[in-house]
């Protein structure tokens, strides 16, 4: 595959250069599925090349092939025009290919320098590390790419954005020429995203080739020189940001027209369903991470909580749904005090909960899908009588649910762990949305999902709201909060520092509040902003 027209459009590239990386006709089959079907990808020196696709489209498989974690059944990899065979990740690293994973592979108790040296020790002699030389190179690399960092700082004390830079530094330290970033912005604030983009641009200018895996369309449009879209294991198109737009990309990616922003219409809030009063909650280590939160969610409205991950949102939500006993304060549901009630009591009171960590809380991966669909109702009719399970009823309803919520699965009896992330989340949504509820708590409901699934879940949530359910939405994705919420509360270090109207909220203002908590946050500011 050649695209003679493209090179002239990518600034700063010499068209005569061979691609730094070329993958040709890569095919990888797994039993019953072709994960990669004749995929070709060219990445030029100094190019930021976005790989766009839904979850399960084959992006990860392709990168595993590149990184030596999977052997392709067909096809060829060329580095600088030379065919190579990549045996394993060590081989890939030796050839200058490095990966920055979505979940950082860093040791929090070690320093920046120690983390960088792990696996690639710079030795003064066969026994001792050459720390001075390592420090010198780390500082120099950081300076060159615009982020100076103290090599002696413990990684655990760094913000997420800086931890990511450590990962990038680690790759650069290993003399990476081709850098693969897997969903690098998933955990960042808008400001941090801008900063990391600046770093990536510097890297590209310096001649590094970057493969940027993402499903966030606007980001891809902003950062990439070229975009390759994959769907169901095949390349379905190549685009240049200046010649495309979000709708075009979404359609390519999903294979049909997608409504990117849900038209949420006007809310008609009624009575207060959830009332939280001065709630204080401790985390597992005993630190008070929710420090007096007050909030109200009415029937028929979506209350969004914006905030950088780790500001107490998870603990707040767990206290509301009964998974965590509050240290103080009150939670009321429809006027009844339900503070400290058990998860089952809350469930029966009409509270549905889509947890942030679907593998930890939401699903039992080793169980069949059908069992997971009744995880919160298995003990009730029609799924059981007394202690006797009614497997026929469980299966029958599972099949109906699969149909109704369009969960893509070979059958109701496959293990939940074999489904894609999007389908796993659909299963949870199906379980939690598919019954009579008065309050729906959504914690990061679309994290790591593809646009198709996000659209689906958002539409389901809006439908619930319009049917008069109260929704509490927690998300680290500011765009999701802005798009979905009728009212927005910004959470910072365990308190809600501001509440504003969802229709008029300004992205930069919310982003700033998320990052700093506002200059003079406190009671005055909160009241001043209450919508």
């Amino acid at each position: 595959m050649t695209h003679p027209a493209d090179s002239s459009l990518s600034p700063g590239l010499s068209p005569t250069l061979a691609p730094a990386l070329a993958m040709r006709g890569i095919t990888k089959r797994y039993p019953g599925v072709v994960a990669n079907d004749q995929i070709s990808l060219d990445v030029r020196p100094g190019e930021i090349h976005a790989l766009l696709g839904e979850n399960g489209a084959g992006k990860t498989t392709l990168m595993n092939v590149l990184y030596g974690l999977a052997r392709p059944d067909e096809g060829q990899i060329l580095l600088d025009g030379q065919p190579v065979r990549i045996e394993d990740p060590a081989d890939a690293i030796a050839r200058g290919i490095n990966m920055v994973h979505q979940h950082f592979m860093l040791v929090p108790v070690l320093s920046v320098a120690e983390n960088i040296l792990l696996g690639e020790e710079t030795m003064a002699n066969p026994i001792f590390l050459d720390r001075n030389e390592a420090h010198r190179r780390i500082v120099e690399l950081g300076r060159r790419f615009g982020f100076e960092i103290d090599p002696d700082v413990k990684v655990g004390s760094l913000s997420v954005g800086w931890q990511q830079r450590v990962e990038i530094l680690k790759a650069l330290y290993r003399r990476a020429r081709i850098l693969v970033l897997d969903e690098p912005t998933a955990v960042l604030t808008p400001q941090e995203t801008e900063e990391i983009f600046a770093v990536l641009r510097r890297l590209a200018q310096d001649g590094h080739s970057i493969v940027f895996i993402s499903h966030k369309l606007y980001e891809v449009l902003e950062i990439a020189d070229r975009i390759t879209v994959i769907r169901r294991g095949k390349v379905v198109g190549e685009r240049i940001p200046t010649e495309t737009n979000e709708d075009d990309l979404a359609e390519l990616m999903v294979g049909r027209e997608v409504q990117l922003t849900v038209d949420r219409g006007i809310s008609h809030p009624a009575g207060v369903v959830l009332e939280v009063d001065g709630l204080r909650v401790k985390d597992d280590r005993g630190n008070e991470v929710v420090r007096g939160v007050d909030l109200e969610v009415r029937a028929g409205e979506i209350f969004g909580i914006a905030g950088v991950a780790g500001n107490g949102q998870d603990e707040l939500v767990e206290a509301i749904v009964g998974l965590r006993r509050p240290a103080g304060g009150r939670v009321s549901l429809g006027g009844t005090d339900v503070t400290g009630r058990s998860p089952r009591a809350m469930n029966e009171a009409g509270v549905a909960y889509v947890p942030a960590d679907r593998h930890r809380f939401g699903l039992v991966l080793a169980f069949p899908l059908a069992d997971n669909l009744v995880l919160t109702s298995y003990y009730r009719r029609p799924y059981s009588r007394g202690i006797l399970r009614d497997d026929a009823a469980i299966l029958r309803d599972a099949e109906k649910t699969i149909e109704r919520f369009d969960i893509r699965t070979p059958s109701a009896t496959v293990k939940a762990g074999t489904l894609s992330g999007g389908n796993q989340q659909k299963a949870i949504v199906a379980r939690e949305f598919g019954r009579e509820i008065q309050l729906l708590v959504l914690d990061q409901p679309t994290r790591g999902l593809d646009v198709g699934s996000i659209e689906f879940i958002h539409r389901q949530a809006i439908d619930k709201r319009n049917a008069g359910t109260a929704l509490l939405l927690v998300s680290a994705e500011l765009d999701e909060i802005l798009e979905m919420s009728d009212r927005i509360g910004v959470m910072y270090r365990g308190t809600i520092v501001a509440v504003m109207d969802g229709r008029t909220a300004d992205k930069n203002e919310v982003g700033l509040l998320m990052a700093t908590g506002g200059a003079e946050h406190g009671a005055d500011a909160t009241e001043g902003r209450t919508a």
Binding site: Y30, G56, R232, L363, S384, P410
Partner: protein, 386 residues
């Protein structure tokens, strides 16, 4: 990942064969490898130790005798079943613990206490009619086992005390209690050796051949009940959920602590019932040295069967057969019966070190299909061991 699209026809035969192989590949390879190791030990001991003329076919002779002893005659077969019966119940005890994410090393102690409970009650009702005496003796064994299971269960539920530690401790306590009672209050007065009275009418009736007692049926009923409990009831669903993902169990409104206490109690009852079977079916009275290694062998049985209730029948028959055939092996090949222990221990070693086997025999597909998400137990940190 896009869900695999498989045609209905393609799933049936080939997929079934693959699934079947995936389920038994690892235990099968472990057994074969253990037999190979046993053969090497026989050869080496022949060469270095016995000083007899070297017979390169001795391992074959030995294994043949072992097989004939266990399956070659009706009496041999019955002996195999009698030996397998307590292993079935003990295996279920360990397996149901695994299902709940618990490692019940205390099966031995629960086994001993079950036997002790049965002998105490059995002696007391020895002259009653059997239809009353047997249920009473069995109930006493179940109760004693249940107490031995409940203690570590409630300790774990209330304080998090790890069941591996507490059940090992309780094994020692069981041995001590048994010795004290049998040489004290339960001892036949003026008997020269510490031995209890006979259980008389409380003994299991013989239902098969010369030695085949009711315990064989009890064991099979145990398999059916435990399978039904695990897969057909909400209790079983809770046990399996707590084992597979305790956090999700809490989210689903279950009470993992209560489930843990309940499951350990059930473990104790099953292992106790194994002890009851040996006492009422075989020994009929108790000496202070009562105590086979059934409780420990049960761990191997459960691991070999990968906690599958039906698989436990086959694993227990294998181990039972080795016990039953060992005598003939000793007579015909002059190989000490302890070789059987070596083979059993080697099977366990290979199973525990299953990643080694997987790498050696390229059982790669097996690794995922075996359900790498099935939890065997949890470490001190609560991390799942799969």
């Amino acid at each position: 990942m896009t869900p695999p699209v498989a045609t209905p026809a393609g799933r049936s035969a080939g997929a079934f064969a693959r699934a079947a192989w995936a389920a038994i590949a690892l235990p099968f390879v472990a057994i074969v490898m253990a037999l190979v190791v046993g053969a090497l030990i026989i050869l080496v001991s022949e060469l270095l130790v016995t000083g007899r003329p070297f017979q390169p076919t001795l391992p074959l002779t030995a294994y043949q005798a072992l097989f004939v002893g266990a399956f070659g005659s009706f009496d041999g077969l019955v002996a195999t079943f009698v030996n397998a019966a307590p292993l079935v119940l003990g295996g279920l005890s360990v397996a149901i613990g695994f299902k709940a994410g618990l490692f019940n090393i205390g099966a031995q102690g629960q086994f001993l206490m079950g036997a002790l409970g049965s002998v105490m009650a059995g002696v007391a009702v020895a002259t009653w009619p059997p239809f009353l005496a047997i249920p009473i003796a069995v109930a006493a064994g179940l109760l004693a086992g249940a107490i031995m299971g409940f203690i570590p269960g409630i300790l774990k539920a209330l304080s998090g005390a790890h069941e591996v530690v507490t059940t090992i401790m309780l094994n020692y306590i069981a041995v001590g209690v048994l010795a004290a009672l049998v040489s004290g209050p339960l001892k036949v007065p003026r008997s020269p050796s510490p031995v209890t009275y006979d259980v008389g009418n409380a003994a299991y009736p013989i239902i098969l051949g010369r030695d085949g007692h009711l315990g064989i049926l009890v064991a099979l009923a145990g398999v059916a009940i435990i399978w039904w409990l695990l897969y057909r009831t909400t209790w079983g669903f809770e046990i399996r959920t707590v084992g597979a993902n305790p956090e999700a169990a809490r989210y689903a409104g279950m009470h993992p602590r209560a489930v843990i206490a309940f499951t350990m109690t059930l473990c104790g009852m099953l292992a106790g019932l194994a002890g009851t079977g040996v006492l009422l079916g075989v020994s009929h009275s108790m000496t202070s040295s009562f105590g086979t290694t059934v409780g420990f062998d049960s761990i191997a049985v459960a691991l070999l069967a990968r906690s599958n209730p039906v698989g436990i029948i086959f694993a227990a028959i294998l181990f039972g057969a080795m016990r039953a055939g060992a005598g003939l092996m000793q007579i015909q090949a002059q190989i000490p019966v302890e070789l059987v222990d070596v083979v059993q221990a080697t099977i366990l070693l290979f199973l525990v070190a299953s990643p080694v086997l997987r790498a050696l025999f390229r059982l790669r597909g097996v690794q995922t299909e075996l359900g790498s998400t099935d939890t065997i137990t949890r470490t001190y940190g609560g991390e799942a061991v799969r």
